[in-house]
């Protein structure tokens, strides 16, 4: 595994995408990203974890109500150190999809995540989250057991952690269900993944009042890695193998491994209080608006130097 082998080609390719302003990108590229982000053969959370960790032990249960298979959490040995890995998990065949609830976690999932984060924080173990979900589970039982509070508390917990934290959008990152694992010191995003306030289909139904306008919605939301990088929502775009991550799971995991290791090594060197301050500032700055008192336009995103 060498940077020489993958780094140059991929990084150059990604850099070109990022350079191109979102609005100029042809529809096809954008829709292709949306499709690739949820390609059935795309590597899922455990595909990455099992390749990147020499050993991995999955934890189960929230100690409150149940265990949610849509979200996996555990401790892995990563470059000879302990790291907590947490991510939504999709399934590939019909049985597994049902078992994993299509990667849509309920409150038990987020509470399992918090339990593992608390242990990691206490033991001084960094936390890596892998985001891949069409959203949190929309079900009556999930609402009755506090879906909203589970997500908000997961966000709160991630913000409060003293240990280094990295979030990676590896596939589909939709809605609060994605952000529930998204508050980290570094936010990475795979080249063909998406990160959005809602799925294109959901937006289509609500904003266009027509479920068939998903492509139009995607075009309006522009939820690609390149755009998220431009908005300052993510710090690093992680390249995928030629043709997309689904073409080569090994290589995809190797590349992510390199980026994670680099980011972790970087974060190790920053004192915890500084990391937390920067984490706060990072999210505080996001979201452009017009403030007449300070002149028009509160700058965010990549027009100004990137945070950190």
């Amino acid at each position: 595994m060498s940077d020489k082998k993958h780094g140059g080609r991929f990084v150059r390719k990604v850099a070109e995408k990022v350079r191109r302003p979102g609005s100029d990108a042809p529809d096809d590229d954008l829709w292709e990203s949306v499709q690739l982000a949820r390609h059935a053969e795309r590597p899922y959370t455990l595909d990455y974890i099992n390749r990147m960790c020499s050993e991995f032990e999955e934890m189960h249960g929230d100690r409150l109500y149940g265990d949610d298979a849509a979200l996996v959490a555990g401790f892995g040995r990563f470059h000879d150190r302990p790291v907590a890995f947490i991510g939504q998990q999709k399934g590939r065949d019909t049985n597994e999809r049902t078992y994993r609830n299509f990667g849509m976690a309920g409150p038990e999932g987020y509470r399992k995540a918090m339990r593992v984060m608390e242990i990691a924080n206490r033991l001084g173990i960094p936390v890596v989250t892998l985001i891949d979900t069409p959203g949190a589970f929309p079900g009556a039982s999930a609402e009755e057991r506090g879906q909203g509070g589970a997500i908000s508390r997961s966000i709160q917990m991630m913000w409060r952690l003293d240990v280094p934290t990295i979030a990676v959008v590896i596939g589909e990152g939709s809605s609060g269900g994605a952000l529930g694992l998204g508050v980290a010191d570094r936010v990475l995003m795979l080249e063909n993944s998406t990160y959005s306030v809602i799925s294109p289909e959901g937006a289509s139904a609500i904003l266009w009042r027509d479920a068939s306008k998903a492509r139009l919605a995607a075009q309006a939301f522009k939820p690609t890695a390149a755009n998220c990088y431009r908005w300052g929502v993510v710090d690093v775009v992680v390249p995928e193998p030629e043709g997309g991550a689904h073409t080569d799971h090994e290589q995809s995991a190797e590349i992510l491994d390199q980026y994670l290791y680099r980011a972790l090594t970087d974060l190790d060197a920053i004192p915890s209080a500084d990391r937390r301050r920067a984490r706060r500032e990072r999210f505080r700055k996001l979201g452009p608006l017009r403030d007449p008192e300070s002149g028009m336009g509160m700058a965010t995103g990549r027009e100004t130097p990137p945070p950190g």
């Binding site: 609005s23 949190a136 929309p138 079900g139 009556a140 999930a142 609402e143 009755e144 506090g146 879906q147 909203g148 509070g149 997500i151 908000s152 508390r153 966000i155 709160q156 913000w159 409060r160 809605s175 609060g176 994605a178 952000l179 529930g180 998204g182 508050v183 990160y195 959005s196 306030v197 809602i198 937006a203 609500i206 904003l207 266009w208 009042r209 919605a217 309006a220 939301f221 522009k222 939820p223 755009n227 998220c228 908005w231 929502v233 984490r279 706060r280 999210f283 505080r284 996001l286 979201g287 452009p288 608006l289 017009r290 403030d291 007449p292 008192e293 336009g297 509160m298 965010t300 995103g301």
Partner: protein, 329 residues
């Protein structure tokens, strides 16, 4: 289901009884003054006097943020904060209509700059900072301005050592600001921790509806959480759930009374008691004016001075072998 579990405490049932005294169904042409639940009709003046609650059936009508401030605070007594902030259009977003146009329309029709109003005020003589959402402005959706004003309200309250009152009424994140709207969930949750550090309480009032990214961020993190009767409180709305899971939902799905039984809120509070309830809990939680160690003990007791030895000496009074001191107090 166990016998323990989902017992319901609706704390203001007695207001239901009041309802019948003042009831007067008047069937006329439905308009903004017509109760959708019982068809009673009210003039604008009556509505305002009743805090926009139907005296006949208790239905809670929507309230604008500025009306809320008048209802909660002393008459005319609030200072609005950061009214000048306005939405940008980072995605140059268009659905059936350009976002810029939607914003301009909302500003015109509501007279508000955005879907949240922040203010400093006094609720029943307790000074506080309030962040109040307005559903009439683009469904109370949370974009960058709502996120920023909320975060500033947290900082402001923390700096001044004042409690924060949050009143939510929102369909969730503002989709027209895309991924950046999603990020406001993180921004607001993080901002709330300023109050934790300042050790001042947060009271959240959930008004109809509180859904999506607002329920899944600051609205579910109050120290004390009240909900207005009938308010829908959910991350996923009933329509989305029914379409996704093909479940048939009960008619009161996600409603305040049910969420109370689900352990999600502290009380369902009728709007006509809201200011009093907020004032009361803030008063209860406020620090004592007088240092409790400095002489506020009732007459006849001599425990006003001294420290760690006290319980010990009290214990000594009832210890085996000790007979003195029992009549000392």
């Amino acid at each position: 289901m166990s016998r323990v579990g989902r017992n319901i405490h609706v704390s203001v049932d007695r207001l239901r009884q009041l309802a019948h005294r003042d009831a007067r169904p008047r069937k006329i042409k439905a308009d903004a003054g017509t109760c959708p639940k019982c068809d009673s009709h009210y003039s604008a003046d009556e509505m305002s006097r009743n805090l926009r609650v139907c005296p006949a059936c208790g239905h809670h009508f929507a309230v604008t943020a500025r009306e809320r401030l008048e209802q909660l605070g002393e008459p005319g007594g609030y200072v609005e904060l950061w009214p000048e902030l306005r939405a940008a259009d980072p995605l140059q977003f268009t659905d059936l209509k350009p976002y810029a146009e939607r914003i301009a329309d909302a500003e015109k029709s509501t007279g508000m700059g955005e879907a949240i109003v922040c203010a400093e005020l006094e609720v029943r003589h307790v000074p506080a900072v309030a962040a109040i959402m307005d559903f009439s402005f683009m469904g109370g959706s949370m974009g960058a301005v709502v996120g920023e004003k909320f975060a500033r309200a947290c900082d402001h309250a923390a700096q001044k050592g004042l409690p924060l009152i949050v009143l939510s009424s929102s369909g969730g994140a503002r989709m027209q600001e895309g991924t950046l709207a999603l990020m406001q969930m993180a921004k607001t949750v993080i901002a709330l921790d300023a109050l934790a550090e300042a050790r001042v309480p947060v009271v959240v009032v959930l008004a109809h509806p509180t859904t999506g990214g607002v329920w899944a961020s600051f609205a579910s993190l109050g120290d004390v959480t009240y909900a207005e009767p009938g308010a829908l409180i959910a991350f996923s709305g009933p329509r989305v759930i029914e379409e996704t899971t093909r479940e048939v939902l009960p008619s009161d799905f996600g409603r305040a009374e049910r969420q109370l039984a689900n352990g999600q809120v502290d009380a369902v509070v009728d709007r006509r008691e809201l200011a009093q309830r907020i004032g009361r809990i803030l008063h209860i939680l406020s620090r004592p004016d007088v240092d409790p160690t400095a002489g506020t003990a009732p007459a006849g007791l001599q425990w006003a001075q001294g420290g760690a030895q006290k319980v010990k000496s009290m214990m000594d009074r009832i210890r085996p072998g000790s007979t003195d001191g029992e009549d000392a107090g």
